[in-house]
Symmetry: C2
Subunit: 411 residues, 2 copies
């Protein structure tokens, strides 16, 4: 945690000009036009991404033409059936995955369950289904649903659940560790965890790691293939802007796919779904992560929303994200009276996601008043103001205005 | 199975006039106007219901206003957060359930998993988590995904899976039975199973029953409360017309809700979801069946589609369904040369769902040619032509024309 020192007097003109200058040389600035935005400063894209402008038109076509006219024929003719893997392949480059390893569908929670049970089964191997490795380690600071699902996975596979802070994970790994579930970024503080280092530590213990990318995919490079991650899950409604509750995704490293033994083997993951066979035979590849009939309207809205990533480099996104959060922290430091807020977000770039969390007395009320004044962030109990920075549509001008409104609210 | 005897000569004019007469006195006829239909005879509503005309407008509003303008505020202000239980309560009367017992979300397969694992846990009781009842009985003729998921549920709860035909279920029930998973109607033949009788038999053995209503909800009265069903699941994209892959639902009988112990305890089923607590405490009521963030676009499309049920009595739907399938079978009998098709659908009303399955040589090719001629049904391997009758929008004229085109195709 780092203190934010207030300046002597708010130096408004300089920071506003600086924001203008930064916006004028922002190579992603034009992307903002691809989203439906208004005068609001929207810093809650890490809860729900803004609406990409092309989505309503595309979904209207899906409803009136594909569902309304072609009806059942669209499963083939409109490519509905293959949407989960096709859209997975569009998400793949954003998380550093080669094609054929990502499949879209279900919620993050359900995908955590698939990934974790499958990881335990792989770690134990086919010959020792219930002995040897009997521990699941889970990030104790994670978004709660991951912890609840991990507890259920542990109960159903006969494992003991070990919740620890990510930094303490290496200390609890050993010959009994089956699988480790970690969040790439802390949803409260915005702290980015060491994915390469922790992945290597888990592998050194002979276990598998599952990463939850909800708060990083679309905001910074993840490098799943490069770092040898085993399994990963993530939602698509934050930095990927797929829409409220849009389907999540599951990454299964190619080398593990033949051993991916899903606890939710639905007809969509069968080798021959329309063979309607009584016995289950898993499909090859990431398709094994599918379960039931895919939710087409939400899924095709997500697919359209991904058009916004055409021609975008995730490195450019990361550079802008860090510049935005740096600049916001500077503006807060300059505008907000000393001692009124304290940043929980690490100052070091290597430890920072794409959000700024400020501890603040009366944070719930403060956030209400910010929202009334057109600056939308999130309150996280008990005392955190959370501001998410989506590089595709948040400007430096937004960052400056948010800090200014925060300062006047606290004054 | 009953033979369909061809008449001497096709008696076209009489059956066409009869269709007209039946349509003119059909009290549900006006409902057809609420759907987007064309010159096609659409007898595949048991795979994908037709588009209700109000859905595109409603979803446009959800996208542009609720997501596009209100953004994150819509979770509260537009009622997104409570959609799963609110929409569940709209489905409830269609399946004979009092409010507070149905929750919408996830796929049918995922809901089968929740229901079956929870049923086993309830049957065993809290004091005997892994002994005593160690058998799951599953409908061997069921839609395959139910069987695959049942196998997974059995494996994870340490049960043995016993697949038998529904009629043979009573013979395998006993002190070791934990749960029984049955389909209300056979997806191939359209045979309706004896829900009251089989439910009573399962209860007499001290076990719990899970009914899959995919092929009956919206087509006939189910009577979940009346018959004391424990748990039920169903999709919403067949007779409920919710859209491709629209979210499924889960029914948990009120008396069982305090003991419903989900294998997928996500943050949405927590007693205090925004408390972000590390330990899981289940919510009260049907909410326990929720898991992750609900898929809002698909869910609100479903909600709009349910407007079509306003003022509709499910008894009237059932009466029309039986009249339609009776009339279709008569037309097939009159038009189709003797011996070319054989009905797999029971003649007795009490044993018939809302579809007609005809065994036919070369059924795959025959269905292709029917579709080319604007009569859309389903082919089910190896030799079944399947015609679904959705009483809200299928007319007697449709039934007559389908039989006539089938006859000319087979001639």
């Amino acid at each position: 945690m780092s203190d934010i020192r207030g300046g002597d007097l708010p130096d408004l003109p300089d920071l506003r000009s600086e924001a203008d200058a930064l916006d004028s040389k922002d190579e992603l600035a034009a992307k903002r036009e691809e989203f439906v935005l208004d005068e609001t400063v929207y810093l809650d894209g890490n809860s729900l991404g803004a609406l990409p402008a092309n989505v309503p038109g595309r979904l209207a076509e899906v409803m009136t033409h594909e569902w309304g006219r072609l009806r059942i024929r669209s499963w083939d003719e409109s490519g509905w059936w293959t949407a989960p893997e096709r859209i997975g392949d569009r998400i793949a480059p954003l998380v550093g995955a080669a094609p054929g390893q990502v499949v879209v569908g279900d919620s993050t929670s359900v995908n955590v369950f698939k990934a974790l049970v499958a990881a335990v089964r792989i770690a134990r191997g086919p010959d020792h289904p219930s002995e040897g490795r009997d521990e699941i380690v889970v990030d104790a600071t994670t978004f709660p649903t991951d912890g609840y699902i991990a507890e259920s996975a542990a109960r159903l596979t006969g494992c003991r659940l070990i919740p620890v802070a990510p930094a303490d994970v290496p200390g609890v790994l050993g010959a009994r560790t089956a699988a480790v579930l970690l969040n790439h970024a802390d949803y409260r503080t915005g702290r980015l965890h060491d994915l390469p280092g922790l992945t290597a530590a888990v592998h050194a213990a002979g276990a598998l790691v599952v990463w939850d990318l909800c708060h990083t995919a679309g905001a910074l490079p993840v490098g799943l293939d490069e770092h040898g991650v085993d399994l990963a899950v993530g939602c698509t409604y934050k930095y990927l802007n797929g829409g409220p509750g849009s389907p999540a995704y599951l990454y299964v490293r190619e080398a593990l796919q033949p051993r991916f033994d899903s606890p939710l083997p639905g007809w969509n993951s069968h080798a021959e779904p329309f063979g309607m066979r009584p016995g289950f035979e898993p499909a090859d590849g990431a398709l094994r992560g599918r379960v039931g009939t895919p939710d087409i309207l939400s899924m095709l809205a997500l697919e359209a929303s991904l058009d916004a990533w055409d021609g975008v480099s995730i490195d450019a996104v990361r550079a802008k994200s860090l510049a935005l959060t740096d600049f916001f922290l500077r503006c807060v430091g300059a505008y907000v009276p000393t001692g009124r807020v304290e940043s929980l977000t690490p100052a070091a770039h290597a430890e920072r996601g794409s959000q700024v969390a400020l501890r603040c007395e009366g944070a719930g009320d403060v956030m209400k008043r910010l929202i009334e004044q057109g600056v939308v962030g999130d309150f996280r109990a008990p005392d955190v103001l959370r501001f998410g920075f989506t590089p595709l549509y948040v400007s430096f001008g937004d960052a400056e205005r948010a800090a200014r409104v925060l300062a006047s609210t606290l004054a």
